[in-house]
């Protein structure tokens, strides 16, 4: 008897059709509800591309200009829609070019299915042309991966892949398909996967733990909530807000939690972490109960662990048991889907205000405003500051845009200053910090959310890592707004050199090309702003444009992002200058 290791949805008819492996791949994608995939063709994946051609009225393929772009675009799509992003590439270099995006999706828990072609199974292990052990290479950065060598495996493997990618704590899955498996035929029928016996995506809720958490919250005098992307992935934004409002708890966010709670919410006290806000970082080391929700205590959030929230009782709401006690000991771990656990919590917590405690956050905000924010936003002379650009974007987006940021100073400034009214609106590379992420991710974000404005905010360095995706934007007529904040430096690294390496600017100064000429080469509407006086008008024009728009803003060259918790320092030793 064959052992069944997974459960599948029953299908009404037992009918099958005879198709090639390549056609089966497309049929699987359609069965999973995939509308768009991002990719790049090549020898080992050509049979699948031939089917993409035949099925083009039912499923869209977007040709990016580099496989890394395909992976990031799939991520951007997944991040704004919550659906599984799909990227596809050929064997060898096509597959290795996906790696950065897969790693990024893994560390940021983004649901993604990557499909790679592979040399024929008779050639495996022979160092054939464009043969790469992509399963071996991607093992540490995938939630699951699998090499298909027989056409008949395709439906079940795809069903498992989509189930794994989107369930529990989401993540990337890679399916490698040998060329012969694409050519061979199979009897096709598709059954969605509903369970895998060795995989427990959502731990069972222990009610007692929720009650203990509620009791600690009810007894707290100075509670602080820090929430992460788990709230968004769990679709628990509304519940989070209800908890916060009922218990009157100030709530801070990690950069991946950003936009789960609207910026203007009176209990939103800002960002934690290295360049986060003064108050939530400082009060992390003063609160009596720290409620961590769907976040993983990344070192960029905690600073020195030895001095992190030692005075506080720590409650950790988490779906992934391996995250509990990984970096910070949880006094009360609450395992489970936040959508379930927060709902239960809501019943057990008592209404509260914590007015004095909340006022203390406002006092520190006032200090941060005086020392930093005011200078960032209201300079009258000198070069344009990054924050001013974000402020103008807010003016015209009213907080309704999706902001996709790249990595560096402009990213921190975007996260600190961009306004959000709704969830899934901040797309950025958090855990991996992948320069070059934003431009392709913005493509996916716009295609996933065509009715919303998508603004990519990118540094002059990161822009040059994936700028070829302007070609995708041009060809596909994707109306994304691209803002390059040009300081002619790898700004974030330069800031560290200034602060910790006595201004030895080793290889951080950039002699840049004329970005406007480049964007014009792709027939994208452009504007370059050098003066503060031109900024508002330019941003307005960009935001009102129906088409793609490229805005370059020349910003202060040696601006530093503050506040800052230097590496190894305690969160409460956050520096304001």
């Amino acid at each position: 008897m064959e052992v069944k290791t997974a459960g599948f949805k029953k299908v009404s008819s037992k009918e099958t059709v005879k198709v090639s492996g390549a056609e089966a791949v497309i049929k699987c994608l359609i069965a999973e509800g995939v509308e768009t995939m991002y990719g790049y063709p090549g020898g080992a994946i050509m049979p699948v591309y031939d089917e993409i051609y035949k099925y083009q009225d039912r499923i869209q393929h977007v040709l990016t200009r580099h496989e890394q772009g395909a992976a990031h675009a799939a991520q951007g799509y997944a991040r704004v829609t919550g659906k599984v992003g799909v990227a596809i590439a050929t064997s060898g270099p096509g597959a290795t070019n996906l790696i950065t995006g897969i790693a990024d999706a893994h560390i940021d828990s983004t649901p993604m299915v990557c499909i790679t072609g592979q040399v024929g199974s008779h050639l495996l292990g022979s160092d054939a042309f464009q043969e790469i052990d992509i399963v071996g290479l991607s093992t540490p950065i995938t939630k699951w991966n699998y090499q298909i060598t027989k056409a008949s495996e395709i439906p079940e493997v795809f069903a498992r892949a989509f189930f794994i990618a989107r369930s529990g704590r989401p993540g990337p899955v890679l399916i490698d398909i040998t060329k012969d498996a694409q050519f061979d035929s199979l009897e096709f029928s598709y059954k969605e996967c509903t369970a895998i016996r060795s995989y427990n995506p959502v731990p069972e809720v222990n009610l007692l733990q929720v009650e203990r958490a509620a009791e600690a919250i009810n007894n707290a005098k100075k509670p602080l909530i820090v929430f992460g992307q788990g709230v968004i992935l769990g679709g628990a934004e509304k519940l989070l807000k209800e908890v916060i409002e009922k218990a009157g708890i100030p709530a801070a966010w990690t950069i991946l939690g950003l936009s789960a709670l609207e910026t203007d919410h009176p209990l939103n006290v800002g960002m934690v972490g290295m360049h986060g806000n003064y108050a939530p970082n400082f009060f992390t080391n003063e609160c009596d109960v720290l409620v961590a929700i769907g976040m993983r205590f990344d070192d960029r959030v905690t600073g020195n662990l030895q001095t992190y929230a030692k005075q506080a009782k720590i409650i950790h709401f988490e779906i992934d048991p391996a995250e509990v006690n990984k970096n910070v000991h949880a006094d009360i771990p609450v395992l489970g889907d936040v959508k379930e656990t927060l709902k239960l919590l809501l019943e057990f917590i008592q209404p509260n205000q914590h007015e004095n405690w909340h006022n203390k956050f406002q006092e520190l905000y006032a200090i941060e405003y005086e020392k930093i924010i005011k200078n960032d936003l209201t300079a009258k002379s000198g070069e344009v500051k990054m924050a001013e650009v974000l402020d103008e974007i807010n003016t015209f987006s009213h907080g309704d845009a999706i902001i996709v940021s790249d990595v560096g100073q402009h990213q921190m400034v975007s996260c600190r200053y961009a306004k959000f009214n709704s969830t899934r609106s901040n797309v950025t590379s958090g855990g991996l910090g992948t320069m070059g992420f934003a431009l392709p991710a913005a493509i996916g974000a716009k295609m996933g959310s065509p009715n919303r404005e998508v603004v990519a905010v990118i540094g002059d360095g990161g822009f040059q890592m994936t700028l070829q995706e302007l070609g995708t934007i041009f060809q596909m007529k994707i109306p994304v707004k691209i803002v390059v904040l040009n300081n002619s430096f790898l700004g974030m690294v330069r800031q560290w050199q200034q602060m910790f390496f006595e201004r030895r600017y080793a290889s951080t100064e950039m002699v840049n090309p004329d970005f406007i000429t480049i964007a014009n080469g792709y027939h994208i509407q452009t504007k370059k702003v050098k003066e503060r006086s031109q900024l508002k008008e330019a941003v307005k024009e960009m935001m009102e444009s129906k088409d793609a728009y490229f805005l370059e803003v020349v910003v202060e060259q040696e601006e530093c992002v503050f506040p800052m918790i230097p590496t190894g320092a305690s969160v409460s030793d956050i520096r304001l200058e």
Binding site: V3, T139, I164, A195, R197, S198
Partner: protein, 180 residues
């Protein structure tokens, strides 16, 4: 700082090609050396069991087990201290017949060491010893002066004194899922 000691990690898994490297990668990423690793069929039909010995702190082994369990095809992972297990290793010693016959009264040697002679030829003897590490090691020391031609020791295999309820976990899955 917690003290390092030997832990035995038992991992029950589906029979999957890539799992060995997936599990090994978890140790590699944390710069932890694997002392020994074995893989075999387990007591459950079509379920594999890995036994991995590492010298780490309890905090480390807990985190490792958490990461291992997270792998999709891992059914369950456990860790045990030495005193919670019954464990054995097997060692093979190949010695030159001439040296061996000269220096040992074979009968009393076998009796004393509880070893077994597997093969005898005019050129060499192969001796097998199963036991705990210190036992195979002490025989190694004893034979070494006589010119060991080859020596090999298996990974540790172990069974726990307490239950590891794999069948129950799998049974639960079977009853709660519609499987055609």
């Amino acid at each position: 700082m917690m003290e390092k000691r030997n832990y035995t990690v038992s991992v029950y898994t589906e029979n999957n090609l890539g799992l060995l490297s997936r599990i090994a990668a978890i140790f590699l990423k944390r710069h932890i050396n694997i002392e020994s690793i074995t893989a075999s069929q387990s007591e459950v039909n079509e379920v594999m069991r890995f036994i991995i010995i590492v010298e780490v702190t309890e905090e480390q082994v807990k985190k490792i087990v958490g990461q291992i369990e997270k792998q999709i095809e891992v059914i369950k992972a456990f860790y045990h201290k030495d005193d919670e297990l019954i464990y054995q290793e097997t060692a093979l010693y190949k010695v030159r017949s001439s040296d061996f016959v000269q220096d040992f009264d074979i009968q009393s040697f076998i009796k004393k060491t509880n070893a077994r002679i597997v093969t005898v030829s005019p050129q060499f003897f192969v001796i097998e010893k199963t036991g705990e590490r210190h036992e195979t090691e002490s025989l190694y020391e004893k034979l070494k002066p006589y010119g060991l031609m080859q020596f090999v020791r298996s990974g540790t295999i172990a069974v726990s004194k307490n239950e590891m309820p794999i069948s129950e976990i799998l049974e639960k899955f079977n009853t709660s899922n519609t499987i055609e």
